[in-house]
């Protein structure tokens, strides 16, 4: 049984194929971000232009033929409406043509579930950090048998990735994203920055404003270093609290910012200090990708989930804690 998954919530159009939990293909095509950031309609146009080729390429990579595909899945949200719609439309078209079921997948669940799957951990604490999201979560049983992701802590304003990208643009770094900031930060000196953790929640806007201001009187290197250290420390501190309060076993890191070397290093050390294992997937599964959507689609398919046609839509604000985890 193979499921083809389509991801298109932001700049990446990705297609993956999952067969019995084996990720046979993970192909993606990424919109190039300029200094203007992302204009949703442009990105959607880009996705529409590439959809067919990427789906074809993923099928080839998987070594399967189109008739082996038993179901399709797509990202329902959260994400940019126009972009999501291209993925949804592609999935619906495939499903209609092949006469197979189609499953809507929550993007955040995709990220977490694939990391949990690859880690082999049963019930870990998940730290999901990407452009728009920064959350610390775990599976909780609400009442008899109904399970959902419970958010222990999260950003109260902007996502960690967005904050770093914003800073990169203000500092005129090119390309304006996290890995550039990390490179520049190497060997910097620490300047004091606002550190805001409220329980297990945290906020980033104060830090960002302060860092952008600090650029006028300090070297980019020192500011980048301090920004990164402060932001990551906040996330790690909140995670440590969540780990101890929730009693979860093991820690997984996922989402786009999970590609950061420094963040991995800090979380690894924190987890180790409590005798817990730490896992982070390969970068190709942390960046937005189709394989994670395919994998969750397969879980839903195997579990006989039957989405109503009214659920086969896109939802720009689709909170992870809205989703009932029937397959767990």
């Amino acid at each position: 049984m193979a499921v083809l998954g389509i991801e298109s919530s932001a700049h990446t159009f990705g297609v993956g194929v999952s067969e019995n939990g084996k990720l046979l293909a993970n192909v993606k095509c990424m919109y190039k971000i300029t200094d203007k950031g992302m204009i949703p309609s442009r990105v959607a146009e880009f996705h529409a232009g590439n959809a067919k080729a990427v789906i074809k390429e993923a099928l080839e990579a998987s070594g399967l033929s189109i008739s082996d595909i038993e179901a399709v899945s797509y990202t329902k949200g959260p994400g940019l409406g126009p972009c999501l719609r291209i993925g949804q439309l592609s999935a619906m078209t495939l499903a209609e043509t092949l006469n197979i079921p189609v499953y809507p997948v929550n993007h955040a669940i995709g990220h977490i579930q694939i990391a949990a799957h690859l880690s082999g951990m049963k019930d870990p604490l998940a730290i999901y950090v990407s452009g728009g999201n920064s959350q610390i979560l775990g599976v909780a049983e609400e009442f008899k048998g109904v399970k959902r992701y419970h958010i222990y802590g999260e950003t109260l304003d902007i996502g960690l990735g967005n904050m770093i990208d914003n800073f990169a643009r203000a500092a005129k770094l090119n390309p304006a994203w996290g890995s550039t900031v990390a490179e520049v930060a190497e060997g910097g000196k620490y300047i004091q920055m606002p550190y805001t953790v409220k329980g297990m929640d945290f906020t980033f806007t104060g830090l960002l404003t302060n860092a952008v201001k600090a650029l006028s009187s300090n070297s980019v290197k020192d500011v980048a270093y301090s920004l990164q250290e402060t932001a990551f420390s906040m996330v790690v501190e909140a995670s440590e609290r969540a780990l101890l309060l929730s009693g979860k076993q093991g820690v997984i890191l996922c989402g786009g910012v999970a590609q950061s070397k420094r963040l991995k290093e800090m979380l690894n050390e924190m987890s180790g200090s409590h005798g817990q294992r730490f896992f982070v997937a390969l970068n190709e599964y942390n960046a937005d990708n189709g394989a994670m959507i395919a994998y969750v689609g397969e879980l839903m398919h195997k579990h006989g989930s039957k989405p109503k046609s009214s659920e086969l839509v896109v939802k720009q604000r689709y909170r992870i804690d809205e989703v009932e985890l029937q397959w767990l």
């Binding site: 775990g138 909780a140 049983e141 419970h150 958010i151 222990y152 999260e154 950003t155 109260l156 304003d157 620490y190 004091q192 550190y195 953790v197 409220k198 329980g199 929640d201 250290e229 402060t230 420390s233 790690v236 501190e237 440590e240 609290r241 780990l243 101890l244 309060l245 929730s246 290093e265 800090m266 979380l267 050390e269 924190m270 200090s273 409590h274 604000r317 804690d321």
Partner: protein
Amino acid sequence: MALKKIAEGAEADIYTLNFFGIDSVMKFRRPKPYLVKEIEESLRSVRTKTEARILSKASAITNAPKPLFVSKYGIIMEKLPGLQASKMPSLGSANAERAALILAKLHNVGIIHGDFTKANLLVSNDMLSVIDFGLSYFSSSPEDMAFDVLLAKRSISNSEYIRFRAQYSKSCFKSKVVLNKLEEIERRGRYQNRSLDTK
């Protein structure tokens, strides 16, 4: 003065001991080697110092542990009786009111608790106390106070919150602005309908 470790918190280890004849609790902020020195130092020593100052003020006005001895990274404080409310089936409306009164008293002298959840409320026969001022700070901003109320609200049941809110409205000087601010925070959208019940 034999030490017995009773809990490992997120940032500190908690021990019980007998300190010159008084049943006490020692809170020691562990090193966090994964943080850069500057952040680690400020988290450990600055927070310990602030916590000690806040404890001495809070314990004077309400049921909070009195600090007996303070060092750079640790505090020995009086041990209060009771069980964590988070470990009980429910808080109950009488205790919800007591909790609101405590929070109102703290806010009236400008103390923000910072982690006002059931895990930090101790319930004994007819007394409720608040512990763990590790994230506390001084502030007179209604927004900061509203976050305390928000944490409490998410941590208790709806019916408990109704009693909590009524008592808080009566006892906190700034309750009107604070509760308005709370509505505003909840409208900001990121965390609507989030509860803290993890069981």
